[in-house]
Symmetry: C2
Subunit: 139 residues, 2 copies
């Protein structure tokens, strides 16, 4: 199985797989006589693990660490759970930050007529012309 087949089988791209190898996320692939990388089912599983971990928002470093844990029979589920809970917290922070942005934008957008006139509450907000202590306050 060469790199493009491995890419197909894992949902990654060939570029990304080479990048992971170069970054030490995965060990160097075996090579065929022609120098092409070859992948075993086991390595596909590793790549799929990394992809799923990335899809849950873990960094490459954490993904590597999680895979190491998954291969370590002496791990504890507590150690894994802790990482997952940290990740949930990070996600919650990101969501909260995005929701604050969204609320500010939404208020400004709702006040904007969106017509041919230059007058625009959205630009007013960016110019600091609204009361920022009260989100989107009209006062």
């Amino acid at each position: 199985m060469n790199i493009s087949q491995a890419a197909e089988a894992t949902g990654l791209t060939s570029k990304t797989i080479r990048f992971y190898e170069q970054q030490g996320v995965i060990p160097p692939a075996a090579r065929a006589a022609n120098g092409y990388r070859i992948y075993s089912e086991q390595q596909l599983d590793m790549l799929r693990f990394i992809k799923r971990s990335r899809d849950l928002g873990f960094s490459l470093d954490e993904s590597r660490a999680l895979f190491a844990l998954s291969q370590d029979p002496t791990r504890t589920s507590a150690s894994v759970k802790q990482k997952a809970e940290q990740q949930i917290q990070r996600i919650d922070q990101q969501i909260e930050s995005l929701q604050q942005m969204r609320a500010l934008l939404e208020t400004a957008v709702s006040e904007c007529r969106g017509d041919e006139q230059a007058d625009c509450p959205i630009l007013d907000q960016l110019n600091g012309m609204t009361d920022e202590s009260v989100c989107g306050g009209k006062a």
Copy 2:
């Protein structure tokens, strides 16, 4: 007003202000005899505008474009509103993506005992050992 005072006054860092100048986001600052950058109130307003725009999640390019719009008397509020609505859409996509991650993590975490045993549903999920078509399905 020198660069660190401008940084203080805008909530940016000196580094970031220089970076914005180098990237063409803001025009080159005037210089004192000693070569130090000097900033006027007008330029502080521009920097504050950019910061608020960035804080709403607009890219530097969009922030620059929005500032140009805000300085253009022939603009229409419709053109601004469109950019803001696009930004809301992007934010919604990001939130949705994060909420999906969160839901998957939360399910796995809730099933994980988090004790000293190696057995771990979180790692099972990363290993593709759960039914992915039903998010977190226990079947």
